[in-house]
Symmetry: C2
Subunit: 479 residues, 2 copies
């Protein structure tokens, strides 16, 4: 038992120090490792397997809407980056510059892509001629670099993995439709695959993407009551098309600018998974995305027939489509339980000589620790159902947490009181003036998370200045 305690005690309690708990989980669940490259992490097998499942899931959703994958260069000549002034201003403070190649100093420096609008525009300007070439629905999976000063695993690092979709359309309406469509894909993915409830809405002018007409976002709430921007979809109108001269000949034989969108989701969502579902024993993974859904752990595995039975249970579950592992290492069962819990594997199946005698196994849910005794023959039908139950329960639990940490503020005193004492989202009315947004941020460090699509008139006046309100806004302290 001493050993088990050591593993569990190695994590800081989330109530004591949430930030330290988060880092501990990243390390102890073997998701990441530190490197000698400042601000960059190594993603270890358990972390990368999560990303692979996220990729597979999202990629299939994209392709079902006609999106195709491509690959653009990772280096951007400075002159190309400079063509769209808002984008440059937005990203220049945080790009890494390549100034020499081999032994030679470059005549023009190249930045390591922080995002690839410029490259896709450059590409589309050659690739698109006619209305028959539209729409172009391209996406790429790659890594990008942004020179962040303070970094945290998955949430903010100098290099991160993501997908960036870039589309070009013949009309403004079609671009708007695609912007919303991709936001809805992100929302469905977060809610159904990651069991994370979302608020869908629009970013304010201050918070939108540099160079976009407008930005839509899915905002999620972490266990500590802080918000996380979890995916964004941008409508560029013809702003970039004008800067990069991306035109097409329309049916009426006139040359027009295309309308563009871009949308991205990053390894950040792994941070969301940890902070929405995790507990003091480590990760808790939703079954839909868990690389291993069931861990079979033999009790007294040296006793006759135990390992054989464990292997046949594993095989039966795999035949039923369940991603199953067997821990037949030399560690004690208690140690194996702790490891399975730390790794967030949704179900463990305990199987000892006494269980085998009775032709039964013990199922333990990772999320609730609830135990059930099940006949071995029924495992292939019971386990898939239980995985679905866990998935639903995890979503509902996260939604209840989110809803019970969402507060309405009707005036500025109330707003400040909530922000200072009750971690969570604050819903409050806004006049639409960026000055109020700035003041709220300066006074409370809370930022506008989004103007939700689902509006409610909770007051008639702006929570900050008292002038007539235009929109309800979700506010919060954010990662």
């Amino acid at each position: 038992m001493a050993k088990e305690k050591k593993l569990v005690q190695a994590i800081t309690s989330m109530d004591e120090d949430f930030a330290q708990w988060y880092t501990d989980v990243c390390i102890k669940a073997d998701l990441i490792g530190y490197t000698s490259v400042k601000g960059c992490m190594a993603i270890k097998p358990a972390g990368y397997a999560l990303w692979e499942n996220i990729q597979k899931d999202l990629d299939a959703r994209f392709k079902a809407t006609g999106v195709k994958n491509v690959y653009m260069p990772m280096l951007i000549p400075e002159s190309l980056l400079n063509k769209e002034s808002e984008l440059v201003q937005g990203f220049a403070p945080e790009v890494a510059w390549v100034t020499s190649g081999g032994q030679e100093k470059l005549t023009e420096r190249l930045c390591v892509r922080p995002t690839s609008e410029t490259l896709f525009c450059d590409f589309y300007s050659r690739d698109i001629q006619s209305h028959r070439d539209l729409p172009r629905l391209y996406n790429q999976w790659c890594s990008v670099v942004r020179w962040e000063k303070t970094t945290r695993p998955f949430l903010r690092s100098r290099e991160f993995l993501w997908q960036e979709g870039h589309t070009a359309h013949a009309t403004a309406e079609e671009a708007e439709e695609r912007t919303v469509q991709m936001l809805n894909i992100y929302a469905d993915f977060l809610e159904n695959s990651l069991a994370i409830p979302v608020i869908k809405g629009q970013k304010t002018e201050k918070e939108k993407f540099a160079g976009a007409l407008h930005t839509y976002t899915v905002e999620t709430l972490m266990h500590d009551g802080k918000a996380l921007q979890s995916g964004t979809s941008h409508n560029f109108g013809d702003i970039f098309a004008r800067a990069y001269d991306v035109t097409f000949t329309d049916k009426d034989n006139t040359v027009k600018y295309v309308y563009q969108t871009s949308w991205g989701m990053t390894t950040r969502v792994i941070g969301a998974l940890i902070m929405v579902h995790g507990d003091n024993s480590g990760l808790v993974l939703p079954p839909h995305i868990a690389p291993t859904q069931v861990m079979v752990i033999p009790i007294r595995q040296d006793a006759e027939g135990v390992l054989d039975k464990a292997l046949s249970v594993k095989a039966a579950l795999e035949s039923a489509g369940v991603r199953t592992d067997l821990d037949d290492s030399e560690k004690s069962p208690g140690w194996k339980f702790s490891e399975q819990e730390m790794r967030g594997i949704p179900i463990r199946v305990e199987l000892g000589p006494k269980d085998i005698e009775k032709n039964q196994a013990v199922l333990v849910r990772r999320d609730t620790r609830e135990k059930t005794i099940v006949s071995i023959n029924e495992l292939p039908s019971v386990v898939p159902q239980l995985l679905e139950t866990i998935q639903k329960d995890m979503f509902l639990r996260a939604k209840t947490h989110r809803d019970s940490h969402t507060y309405d503020a009707h005036n500025y005193e109330e707003f400040k009181e909530i922000v200072n004492n009750k971690p969570g989202f604050v819903r409050a009315m806004w006049c639409g003036d960026p000055a109020c947004e700035e003041k709220i941020k300066a006074d409370t460090t809370a930022t506008s998370r989004c103007i939700p699509f689902e509006q409610e008139q909770i007051a008639d006046t702006c929570v900050c200045c008292g002038r007539p309100a235009k929109k309800m806004v979700f506010w919060g302290k954010a990662y």
Copy 2:
């Protein structure tokens, strides 16, 4: 017909100018696009879909041997790169250097990874403590940058996509075994999935990877008789472990250096696919790797029932597990044939009103242009078989070409005569002295491709100097 001609004529004949034919195919088959980033290409959907299939296939082969995917940073601090002197000397002339991040000049410059041995060593030095941590079998899919002076699509570009596997083992024997195992995976993949026959062997000291104990390679022969190094597997022994201090405590409680390997395959193999199988009508893709295996092309598609029938044929083929597309665009059938041929789709199914009347369809093989008339009901059983036949035939045809372009040279006059007049591999004996290798290269531009595992004593003396021969070597001009 004028239009079809235009498309076909747009490719240079491969007999006239092979290099231009190659570039034409890359562009006309829509594999790549040019960019404003010098020496870098954009990989378009048709090219990237090929890479996705290559990835899926190789990745499953790796994982079946216990390999796990991870992700390491793309930037390497200069001091980390400098720890292994041979590696630095090998790669320094061709790396890109990041010297500033955001507005600040960096105190230490970072190179964009040309390969990641250094990062994996740095990682393993922290990650590995005990013999229980071994072996470590990690791989990553990423892009790397090498500052090449002359570039060609897929074959040589400043940035390319690849996978790089990096393993650490407790013993030298295990590392050697893994080096061979991964070379065999590359060989099987090339022969069975890409239908490209390989010569397996060892690189000479001159041609091995910088810093490796030895390098194994799979060498392939292109249609023009030039060789292409298509995948390499390196055994590092404990060379890197000593430079980066990667140690473990063994069962006997002593601290030892680990033994390491690395192995990589790149987007270059797409170049091999083009140059081994392509013809004057464009790409010819082996069915196992083709993103689309069958293109259904309706004849007189406006005639009643034709499109409906075409759709039901597509659905029936998809149910039989065949990756099928339907070209129902407004182009003429002849134009569609040319496009399907240019894109290298293995089979086309032609279906017109007369065929439908007779409940039949016309199958046309892309590789031989052979036509067969098949009953529509039998398509789901005939097509999968035909795809397998095409796959086998393509391999055999490539092997016949390779074998008939492999020549034995018994003395230097014969060697030079072959290299100058008969494009292909030259098999010749070698004394083992790098001076002879240098002289051969200087005299003929042919390089040693590999010392094949399957040896044959075709003469007793070195083809260059006449001293006693040690090994038979494959020589050739190479990409």
